[in-house]
């Protein structure tokens, strides 16, 4: 009887039909291996990752299809860095025809080998045990502890290896390529291979300013310096606030529940900056206590583009503040730093003119929303007061009907993109050459969460039309885990929950769950008026 090997499974076990080789062990093996064959759901894989260190996933029955009918049982003791090998084989010559054995074939031989391994190679000493009887304590067996030779066992992957033997007592040596009889342990073996730190292909936040990326010329990143226009007030003519005064009085009559504020949370500092004040000053050079000495950061709000940013100061103490330059690009605020006098485009978020052109600020997250929403999120917030030191009527809006008409004051690029009303508040994100906006008024009234993609970045967007906010984060973590989110209602500042059960707040911080304390990566995103977003990032996709 011949068992035909299945070439697809490398499970060839054509048991030799030699009369002398038919014995109990072979019968056992044939039965066992056939059973394995049928139980094995996977073929021995052609592709397997290289194995650097032997592991217990290699524990299995191994054989060489060319010498089917004999083989190896291999056990790896990872904790001991040792390997045990049992080689069932035959004598070097056939026994006489009249030779008999009470049990099994008189030509059958067992060799055992034990030894340490290092890396993917084990060096074993062959031992031959003599003098014993079937299932009996006596007579006692004897083993030559010097061994009968050596076996070197080397695995290149989880599916194949080489047995190199040198049996000194016989004067025989050679190599036997081996493979598994069945594939069932391969997944275990592969799982036990130490994983290289996975190289995450997730995109980094785009540190440039996106698709509207004109060449750098003469220290100017904006293609035509004439595109930067003088707004009239002159440098610091719109005076920044240098010593802001805050109150913890949340019932201040100075700001109504539906009035807009820029909310920030830096360390334990939670502050709200009303648009009514920012309309007149555009910049607040503020101080935050995070860990250690106070740190400066600059909040800017451009009333003409409706965009707010918080930049951590990178400058030397003394001149670590920004001023209003009095000029605009795409109707958007250009700040200047007082240390080196670089001009910074707020919405491009980088220096566009000056000695450090293309420099990127260290951006911090802001939440642009209503006072009522912000208070609900952070009742412990402080509120910027009108004690600014300037004689301004903060109840007046300085630009007339600007917010409710199509009127623009300064020229902008791509002004003929009428897909949305010009002053629609949109949450925009820019990733490389891709850009997408989410109109705030299109979010559902309740918190809505969208698991989305922009360019090659997987994002999560949370927003609400009634609560009037929108934020977007990278939902692919540093370990490449991609989280799926759902909305959380009535639990501000918590706005979403991931598929692992962690809950995340509006700043993208996990507030409970196994990932508590982790922060989703910030993105190049902020709220602005539609005309401004499409001026800076033409061709932006509009989320429907």
């Amino acid at each position: 009887m011949t068992f035909k090997p299945d070439p697809n499974y490398n499970l060839a076990l054509p048991l030799r039909t030699r009369a002398r080789s038919v014995g109990l062990l072979k019968t056992f093996l044939s039965t066992t291996l056939l059973l394995l064959f049928f139980l094995s759901s996977n073929a021995v894989r052609a592709q397997s990752p290289p194995i650097e260190v032997l592991n217990s996933g290699l524990n299995d029955a191994w054989y060489d299809p060319e010498t089917s009918g004999q083989g190896f049982f291999i056990t790896v003791f990872s904790d001991l860095s040792a390997v045990s090998l049992a080689w069932f084989t035959y004598d070097t010559e056939l026994p006489p025809l009249d030779a008999v054995a009470n049990l099994g074939d008189p030509g059958h031989r067992w060799l055992t080998a034990v030894g340490p391994f290092s890396g993917n190679t084990a060096t074993l000493t062959i031992y031959v045990t003599r003098g014993g009887l079937f299932n009996s304590e006596v007579p006692a067996t004897s083993t030559d502890l010097d061994g009968d030779g050596t076996i070197t066992l080397e695995f290149t992957d989880c599916t194949s290896g080489v047995v190199s033997y040198d049996i000194t007592s016989l004067g025989k040596s050679g190599q036997i390529p081996i493979q598994r009889v069945a594939a069932g342990n391969i997944p275990l073996c592969e799982a036990l291979i130490p994983q290289e730190p996975q190289v995450c292909t997730r995109p980094e936040p785009d540190k440039s300013h996106g698709p509207n990326d004109p060449p750098i010329t003469n220290g100017t990143i904006i293609s035509r310096r004439t595109d930067i226009v003088d707004g009239g007030p002159g440098p610091d003519g719109i005076p920044p606030l240098e010593s802001p005064v805050f109150t913890a009085n949340l019932n201040s009559a100075d700001v109504g529940p539906n009035e807009m504020v820029v909310g920030v949370k830096v360390g334990d500092n939670i502050r709200a900056y009303p648009h009514d004040i920012m309309n007149w000053h555009e910049i607040v050079n503020d101080t935050f206590t995070i860990d250690g000495p106070p740190e400066r950061a600059t909040l800017s709000y451009c009333p003409l583009t409706g965009s707010a940013m918080l930049w951590k100061s990178f400058m030397e103490p003394g001149d670590e503040t920004f001023g209003t330059s009095g000029v605009l690009y795409n109707s958007n605020l250009i700040l200047y730093d007082r240390e080196n006098v670089n001009y910074w485009s707020q919405m491009l978020e980088q220096a566009v003119v000056g000695p450090q052109v293309t420099r990127i600020p260290d951006r911090l997250q802001v939440v642009d929303t209503t006072w009522a929403t912000w208070k609900a999120m952070y009742p412990e917030t402080e509120l910027l007061t009108r004690e600014t030191g300037f004689s301004r009527d903060y109840d007046d809006y300085p630009y007339g009907d600007y917010l409710v008409t199509e009127r623009l004051i300064f020229p902008v690029n791509n002004s003929n993109d009428f897909r949305l009303w010009k002053k629609t508040r949109v949450l925009g994100i820019n990733v490389g050459d891709s850009s997408k906006v989410y109109p705030i008024n299109v979010f559902t009234s309740a918190v809505e969460v969208i698991n989305d993609t922009t360019g090659d970045m997987q994002t999560v967007v949370a927003g609400s039309s009634e609560l009037n906010f929108g934020v977007v984060f990278n939902r692919q973590l540093e370990d490449c885990t991609v989280l799926e989110f759902e909305a959380v209602q009535n639990k501000l500042p918590v706005v979403m929950r991931d598929n692992e059960g962690n809950e995340w707040d509006v700043f993208g911080v996990a507030v409970n769950g196994d990932r508590a304390g982790q922060q989703l990566e910030k993105t190049n995103s902020y709220i602005a008026f539609w005309f401004a977003w499409t001026a800076f990032f033409p061709g932006a996709e509009i989320h429907q």
Binding site: R225, D230, L408
Partner: protein, 309 residues
């Protein structure tokens, strides 16, 4: 018998009319008092006036509507304009005037870390044709004049410091404009040493190549002028001025435009029969400006010298 225009009126007309028509330059306007000098018009056939006028215009008052607001930014904004004009009477009733200007603007915000911004250059020019159908003579106490002219953008309107400066800091408006002008004078005595004067003008401003249009402007002034002897004269007038908001790309610019009433005193002295020197001032009386906050005129003063050929 033909009566020539009364020469003693020269001084009064010169300085009173000058201030009547002076255009205020506000923060939102590159306007320079171009019409000031051109008002020194020749009124007698063959007469030619050459006039030099220099005005310093301080524009540092911060106003919300009609209310003064303290300026904590310590802004110092002024314009200094020099105008050279010529006026020639083709007949006793028809004259033509032309002027060229040179302007220097300065903007210094004391609280800013950045320095002062200045610009200077040739400004706009004006060409004005005037018709005086009725003029004061020993037998006529009335004078009426009509004028039609054009503002010509002969100067620089894209002056650049680090960036192209705002329109109000440009020497020139960069756009053509049309001028309609009229005046009426009444002499209380035969020698016309005491006069009541009133004038009005309207300037229509065109759009420059940056799609910016200064607000159209209307001025109306009235006052009295008195001459003592043949050499010294003085006048006092009130001027009402109204400008529409400036526009860019057709849209109004916030915080531009408004209404002003100024008091304008002036004195002049004829050094010789041909050369007359003058001083004048402009003092805000009241104003009501568009928008919620504007910088506007604090005061202005001017010196002029006119030579009659």
């Amino acid at each position: 018998m033909i009566f020539r225009p009364l020469k003693p009126a020269f001084g009064l007309l010169l300085y009173f009319g000058l201030q009547n028509l002076a255009s205020a330059a506000t923060c939102s306007c590159a306007g320079v008092p171009l019409l000031a000098s051109i008002d020194t018009s020749a009124k007698e056939k063959g007469q030619l006036f050459i006039t030099y006028n220099a005005e310093n215009h301080q524009i540092s008052d911060l106003v919300s509507g009609s209310k003064d607001v303290p300026d904590e930014t310590d802004r110092d904004r002024h314009s200094f304009s020099q105008v050279l004009s010529a006026s020639y009477a083709m007949t006793d009733r028809w004259s033509v005037s032309a002027l060229v200007s040179y302007v220097r603007h300065s903007r210094d915000i004391g609280s800013s870390f950045l320095g002062k911004t200045t610009s200077s250059g040739v400004g706009d020019s004006v060409l004005l044709l005037r018709y005086t159908p009725v003029f004061i003579t020993p037998f006529s106490r009335h004078e009426v004049s009509l004028g039609l002219g054009s503002r010509i953008p002969t100067g620089d309107d894209d002056y650049t410091d680090v960036f192209v400066l705002s329109e109000d800091m440009q020497p020139s408006t960069g756009a053509f404009g049309g001028i309609l002008w009229t005046s009426y004078s009444y002499a209380f005595n035969q020698a016309a040493t005491l006069q009541f004067n009133t004038s009005a003008n309207y300037t229509y401003n065109g759009v420059n190549d940056r799609e910016y249009r200064f607000g159209h402007e209307f001025n109306f002034a009235m006052g009295l002028g008195h001459s003592i002897g043949t050499r010294f004269s003085y006048s006092a007038a009130f001027r009402y001025r109204s400008t529409k908001p400036d526009r860019r790309s057709g849209f109004e610019i916030p915080n531009t435009g408004g209404k002003w009433v100024d008091f304008i005193p002036a004195v002049s002295y004829a050094v010789t029969d041909k050369l007359r020197l003058g001083l004048s001032g402009r003092i805000p009386v009241t104003r009501n400006l568009d928008g919620v906050l504007q910088f506007t005129t604090s005061y202005a003063y001017a010196f002029s010298a006119s030579y009659a050929f």
